[in-house]
Symmetry: C2
Subunit: 205 residues, 2 copies
DNA sequence: TTCATTCTTGAGTCATCGCTCAAGAAATGG
DNA sequence: CCATTTCTTGAGCGATGACTCAAGAATGAA
């Protein structure tokens, strides 16, 4: 019996993670449909045959990219803040401030991949569009859950509306991503974040 | 000498405004590149030859669509509010509330065409992307101008930052457009608008 | 060495993209 | 009527899209 780690046949000539990172950059920058297989193979430094053998079709590659993105610091900072911060207010303050720093960071394409990579799509790729909008709406639901918890724990005023607050923060985050893609600086986005936090409801009244 | 209104030759079989409206719907819904000439000719009920004779190439048609959109109620409500409202606060309050009502209106595609029709674009169509982002940034500049005026007139506190406020409102509006495309209702967006208005700086302090 | 397995390669498939054009049809002017 | 002008039509162009596949190369097992 062979150990499960034993590799047979010709080994891959490329590093899967590195290739995926190259694909991520392209999808992040131009979006799903505007990124061609030709551009992908060139950036990943592999031929079409290898790409399809390793990742399936274009949609599968994209979904794997989105999954990996969600595990990266840039793609996970929202969930991390929701988990790590004790208070909901602290969590959203941290989320907005980190978004302001991360979205315009020149070390990667501007904005959030989940927000901007599949906004313009043909009918036959509508599933890719809903794939991302489902992720965004899941984020919205997580916001609402966190805010409802805060309200039950007394942090958030009983007069506050968790669902409305969640939608508001979702909108601000998506807007900040778009502004980053339009050239907004970290300074501008930080100011936007601070202004946005003014909407946080006053303590129990 | 012939009068300038005299038409010669075979008259067009389609109404230009109607055809443009059909093209607008498609670009609005799917974006620039994801809308094909085939879909356009079918929706406009004309053949490719007529389309190219009447509108030039695809980019020219798109720019004409954007221009017409900017003159329509949906595309002009921001500029209208900035002009008609006496106070800056009244203007932005009206802009956000109208956006909340207009963006999810089911009588047309969701969100704002200028915001969402060219976010995912190939390199050869990068000019279309910047064409729209220039419009968005021009809007941002108009916001700042209005707020600076309000500050000079004493409506806005001297401690306020017109540029930061302008960027904040631009982000909120773009975020509301995206949320509308993700299925947000007018009710949700109205709540978002009201929360966003809480960022308006208190009177002179 | 030989076999089986896995990956690479380059040529190529089919569909669709934006776009063009010659020929015909519908109007006006003489 | 004919000539001129303008628009419509249907066929089709070259380029490019996603994707495939047979043949060769590199590995471990026997």
């Amino acid at each position: 019996m062979n150990g499960p780690g034993v590799k047979r046949g010709r080994p891959p000539a490329f590093d899967r993670t590195t290739a995926l990172a190259a694909a991520t950059r392209l999808f992040w920058e131009h979006g799903y449909e505007a990124t061609t297989i030709g551009e992908l193979t060139r950036a990943m430094d592999i031929k079409p045959g290898s790409l399809y053998a390793a990742f399936g079709d274009k949609k599968s590659l994209f979904k794997e990219v989105v999954h990996a993105y969600g595990l990266s610091p840039v793609g996970a900072f929202i969930g991390t803040a929701l988990e790590e911060e004790r208070t909901a207010h602290g969590a959203f303050r941290r989320i907005l401030r980190e978004a302001a720093a991360v979205y315009p960071d020149p070390s990667h394409p501007a904005g959030c991949l989940t927000i901007s990579a599949a906004t313009n799509v043909t009918v036959q790729d509508a599933d890719i569009s809903t794939f991302l909008s489902d992720l965004r709406n899941a984020n919205l639901a997580a916001f609402e859950t966190r805010l409802t918890t805060a309200q039950r724990q007394g942090e958030l005023s009983a007069a506050a509306n968790p669902r409305a607050l969640a939608a508001y923060f979702a909108a601000i985050i998506q807007g900040m991503s778009q502004r980053a893609r339009d050239g907004a600086t970290a300074t501008e986005l930080t100011e936007t974040a601070e202004l946005a936090l003014a909407a946080w409801p006053p303590a129990q009244g």
